[in-house]
Amino acid sequence: MAPLGSACLLLALAVCVYGIGASLYGVRRGRPEWSDSGRRAVYALAGVLTVAFAVLEIAFLRDDFAFNTVADTSSVTTPTFYKAAAVWSSQEGSLLLWAWLLSMWSSLVLFLTRKRMRDVAAYATAVLLSFGGFFVSLMIFYANPFATTHPAPVEGAGLDPLLRFPTMMIHPPMLYSGYTLCTIPLAFGIGALLARRVDAEWIRAIRRFAFAAWFFLGIGILLGARWSYAELGWGGYWGWDAVENASLMPWLTGTAFLHSLMIQEKRGMLKVWNASLVLATGVLAIMGTFLVRSGVLSSIHAFGGQTLGVPFVCLIGVTIAGSIYLVVTRRDMLRSEHRIDSLLSRESMFLANNVVLVALCFVIFWGTYFPLISEALTGKAASVGPPWFDRYTVPLALVLVLLSGIGPVIAWRRATLANARRNFLAPVGIALSTVTVLLLVGVTGKPFALAMFGCAAFVLGCVGQEFVRGVRARRAMAGEAVPVALVALVRRNRRRYGGYIVHVGIAVLFVGVAASSSFQHALEPTLSVGQSSKVGAYTVHYVRPTATVTPSNDAAHTGATLSLGAVLSVSKHGRHVATLYPSEGYYASDEPSQGSVGSLIGGQPVSHVAMSGGVTRDVWSAIAPNIETPQLKRIVEIGNRTIPFVHPEDALIAVAYLARSYLQHPPPAQFHFIVSPLVMWIWIGGLIVFGGGLIAIWPAPSAVRRRVAVLARGRRARAARGLARA
């Protein structure tokens, strides 16, 4: 199977080289049949890489340890679900996933634009195939997923326990889809600049893809945050980690682009800005990939020790230099057709929103790459921590949320005092009364959180008012019932109302962020069985210890050998609220030096968090049991001495004995409790954002009708010509 995979990679590289040549020759010499052939090369690339990906996936599912990557990241004892997901846990596998997704998405966009903008699309084909070729070459020359060892080892190292979480199946593919989709607007932007066709047409062609990139990247980021919160024994959802930041940056510039493209479509303005945003988004997406791959910055996500630094730096350098060259040389064509008439207009609000988003991106960029910048400038490595990020991002986020309320309701071109009063009186009233009520019920001491609640109320007021007015207008004109009018309103103008719903979701999400970060209670007590500790208004009681020895099927189905935990009873004012079962999983380590018993549980321990989620608050708990008491250590030592490696089932009995001993004499355990208000609203807000996004991206019925009408007209015309000839 491995030779088939390697052959696929070589074929893929050949296809890329041919496709780049064919599409460039076609567009330069005006030979469309060559450009078409270049486009078909992208389809071929997708086909070849699909085969390659299938080969690797099958190798994982069949435990074919002859493949080095399978032996390194999977094992017989790894549950099947995680075997399937382990494909992208390694450097090589994730490069293959990247290239494969790129080829699929590229095929889709080129198929959809095959009848339009042939010259732009031909250049875009060449750009996309260059990226594809780059990643395929990385696999061929640096990190081949189909490298094999003979004879094959009998057992692999297993998937890193930290990655054994259901999100592993979906978070990386979503992020990579987002990253690869970001390169599509980049490719078409470069194509439009090269072909000197910088009107709004190329923007219309890739709008949906820019939106899809934003959508998938956003889902990926949110799933990552959720993973971090629900799995890592840390309790946070965002840590300003380099790789998290790397995925947020293209999302921010992508968001800016989705807004400013409307201005180019409607008023022919901001062309330089849009071209720059598209190019920046693409470059940031590639840099994001690079950060994960290269290990240049210390991050919990980096694959340690493996560097693809030089090729990536070359790719990024070429892309940036090329982008700047193109924008500078084409600047005459990128002149605006209009000017901003007034500072109080929707155009200038959009511009402000763009500035804030780009500023946020700059802050995050600076902070993320600061270790490199500092080393380059002062010769000393240094880094900035979360407080530095918070200092800038919190005020910027406030302004952003405020603008997301103002933007949808302010008039185009020039807002007058009268229509400002008409549009903003109610929302401002709602915001002020929200803040007043919160102050009266005693939410004080956190001015930024309070300001965020006010801003969010303002956004809800603005958007709610738009919906109410729209529904009222429809009722007045068509006499429809409220629900009918509401559905019709959204259906008639999906992009607009979908966008409004996205704004509501963002406001809700930020309410969750502000509340949970400002009003959180956290405690790390050491408790013995029977003891309690008080976290905020809640009392957590350590009822009894738990221990399970589950070689293949532990509670969380992650393949832990041993899992030690606790039963916790959570109560509030003497009333029982929830029972929680946090535990810590101990995995086999694959290190013979730890002994026959020690190596069964000597791997990296991983927390299995338990929480009681609610719309008002989450009670979150994690446990770090003490497995190194003298008594438990002695069991392992005696086991190691008496049980030889050839009898793993006997070693497992020693582990069971250890578990029983732990239950009989449970040592005090270290706990971590967090009571966070409104965390759930982060996820709810995220769902609202993506629901709104889906509404906005869905083809409008009128567009479908138009397309059908055009087709029908074409058919009628052909029929008429046929009749005329006859």
Partner: protein, 145 residues
């Protein structure tokens, strides 16, 4: 505003652009300046012992010394040393301890010197590279990457 309104539109735009750009430059300058003053220098344990001043934050990267880890209440006590051994620096830390934290593992923690001891900033402890203490270097015959 009256003055602005009296100017011709091109000049007005130029003025606006200059104002906006200089505001952006000032803000970016502030950001860059604070990043240098707020940054914690990254040091190895032996550099830390020689250079640390009281009250400043340092990000120290080192290996957890075997046998040095013990907990009391909510505090974690451990020592770090350079990758090649040598100077041992004791650290007192409170806050979240990541799962992969172990003796012999490389960690990064932000510390402040107070008196003779180094106190870790809350929740600043991260373990480097959990993509795992994979079995030694790949055996001969495997393609190296």
């Amino acid at each position: 505003m009256k003055y602005l309104a009296a100017m011709n539109p091109a000049r007005k735009r130029a003025v606006r652009l200059t104002v906006a750009l200089s505001a952006a430059v000032v803000l970016a300058g502030a950001l860059i300046y604070t990043s240098f003053s707020a940054a914690s220098p990254a040091l190895t344990p032996s550099q830390l012992v020689h250079q640390a001043q009281s009250g400043r934050s340092y990000q120290v990267t080192g290996t957890v010394v075997a046998g040095s880890v013990h907990r009391s209440g909510g505090t974690l006590h451990f020592s770090v040393e350079d990758r090649v051994g040598g100077t041992v620096v004791p650290v007192v830390y409170t806050g979240t301890v990541p799962d992969p934290f172990r003796e012999g593992r490389e960690i990064i923690v932000t510390v402040q010197k107070q008196g003779g001891a180094f106190f870790g900033e809350r929740d600043s402890l991260i373990t480097k590279c959990p993509s795992k203490y994979k079995a030694a270097p790949p055996p001969a015959g495997k393609q190296s990457y």
